[in-house]
């Protein structure tokens, strides 16, 4: 049979951005897959070397526009830890609530988009309806729906308000998640398209540097939130499922939404008892890190995100490096798509929750 080279993307509605997969096909079977990235490259690391820390801060939301809070938090955290700044309990609780709301919004969008990849249109509208509640809350608090730019070095831009909105979200969401599960989880078509597809075993996941939900759906209990200083005193259980396929990755994300709800309600209690914001803001104009190297990590919705800063004591960093989860998921496609069928390609790549601005940086 003749071999055929097929370009999937870069302008393809199911690649969630501009990902180009060069597939080599024999019939419908994929012989090899080569991801081609770089269509969205903005030079985030090069820009960091030219800008002062406060000038760079609004940019980092754009690294992952669906989870901007995580990247602002990561940069703020690196600077704060380097300068030994302690945050007050209220600031920590505010950051925790916004991060977890952001995680839920990101997972909700993924559920909608993934199901649309598989041809089911209505879950997309349901998921966006609930995500809209979260985005509207972000707009109320920070003035922005997505590129929030709300965390600053040593605190937050202003105190959080409208706690009743969060309580409303926490009340509505569990019912709605139940609705999604009724609609999707037992659906025979969905199960056929995802069960036993895109098998990712534990050792392969380690070897390819996969972290986050994708790793925990392969039966590994590794959640970087458990050692995180924001989550101190918060009770939560990492979602670990033992299925290794696309279907398990879907179930893990749905359960993570439920877990986030529990975390937020605990953080709300802290917020109610700690009334004093007590910020420890840094002067952005004189801000510079002492000479040395700094690494900080956070569990972002798409896996481990980390930042490395090498400073020579000047106002701009000497070297700035991002590690993002999706970058490694794209690399994993070379392995997962090999030997799969073309009609599963979208289902498999969709299940890994790849987002392209995070890949291209």
């Amino acid at each position: 049979m003749n071999k055929l080279k097929l370009n999937l993307g870069p302008q393809h509605p199911s690649t969630h951005g501009v990902l180009r997969l060069i597939l080599e096909l024999e019939g419908e079977k994929i012989l090899s897959c080569e991801p081609d990235i770089g269509y969205l490259h903005r030079g985030m690391e090069k820009m960091a070397e030219k800008l002062s820390y406060i000038q760079y801060l609004p940019l980092v939301d754009r690294i992952d526009y669906l989870a901007g809070f995580f990247y602002s938090e990561l940069l703020c955290r690196t600077v704060e830890k380097a300068l030994n700044i302690e945050l007050s309990k209220r600031v920590k609780a505010i950051r925790l609530i916004l991060l977890e709301l952001n995680r839920m919004a990101s997972h909700l969008l993924w559920i909608g988009a993934f199901l649309m990849d598989l041809g089911a249109v209505s879950p997309f509208f349901y998921a966006f309806r609930e995500r809209e509640l979260i985005l509207q809350y972000f707009e109320k608090v920070s003035g922005q729906r997505m590129m929030n730019n709300y965390f600053v070095f040593g605190g937050v831009r202003r105190d959080i308000e409208f706690l009743e909105d969060i309580e409303e979200i926490l009340k509505i969401l569990p019912e709605k998640v139940n609705d999604y599960e009724k609609l999707i989880t037992e659906n025979p078509i969905f199960i056929q398209r995802t069960k036993n597809k895109g098998i990712l075993d534990k050792n392969t996941a380690f070897n390819f540097g996969i972290t986050g939900v994708n790793l925990r759906a392969s039966g590994v209990e590794l959640d970087f939130r458990s050692g995180d200083y924001l989550y101190e005193g918060i009770e939560f259980k990492p979602v670990v499922l033992d299925g290794c396929d696309s279907y398990t990755r879907y179930r893990a994300r749905v359960q993570e939404i439920r877990e986030s709800i529990k975390i937020i309600s605990q953080a709300l209690e802290i917020l109610k008892s700690e009334k004093d914001l007590n910020q420890n803001l840094l002067n952005p104009f004189t801000l510079s890190l002492p000479e040395g190297e700094y690494i900080q990590e956070i569990e972002a919705p798409r896996g481990l995100a980390s930042v490395y800063i090498k400073s020579t004591g000047e106002k701009t960093p000497y070297r700035f490096k991002w590690r993002t989860g999706s970058y490694y998921s794209v690399n994993l496609l070379r392995k997962l798509l090999k030997g799969a069928y073309l009609n599963d390609a979208i289902a498999i790549s969709g299940s890994l929750d790849i987002i392209l601005p995070e890949v291209d940086k």
């Binding site: 990235i37 770089g38 030079g43 540097g209 980390s306 690399n331 291209d360």
Partner: protein
Amino acid sequence: MNWAEFQNIFSDCRLYGDKIVINSNLLKTVDFIKTNYHFDMLKEIIATDNGDGSFELIYRLFSPDDEEDLLLSINVKDETESVSSVFESAVADEKEIYDLFGIKFIGNTELKRLYMPEGWVGHPLRKDYQENDERLKWNE
């Protein structure tokens, strides 16, 4: 991991802050650490231009069992061994470093331009990179 035992085998390594600095035998060291101490994941490879024609590569190895990091650092000129035979994720990291720094990894067959277009001159994250490329003038 057991530092004394490790130093017996690789005698030319030393501790610098939290980093283990080695001078040679990169692939062998990484392989040894992975098989003997169960550092099963390579979180990332960080490259830095030292400004004197050499580059520092930091390998962030991670042990999922102990949730422990190990930083392995090596100074290279513009060529070194690829660790992609030990860690598949290194393929992606080395591709990125090749594009942005121009360091060649012997043994990695996928090295080509990643973010920058084909035929681009220079490697943007090098400290001696000249930003006067004529192709950038179209929007002035």
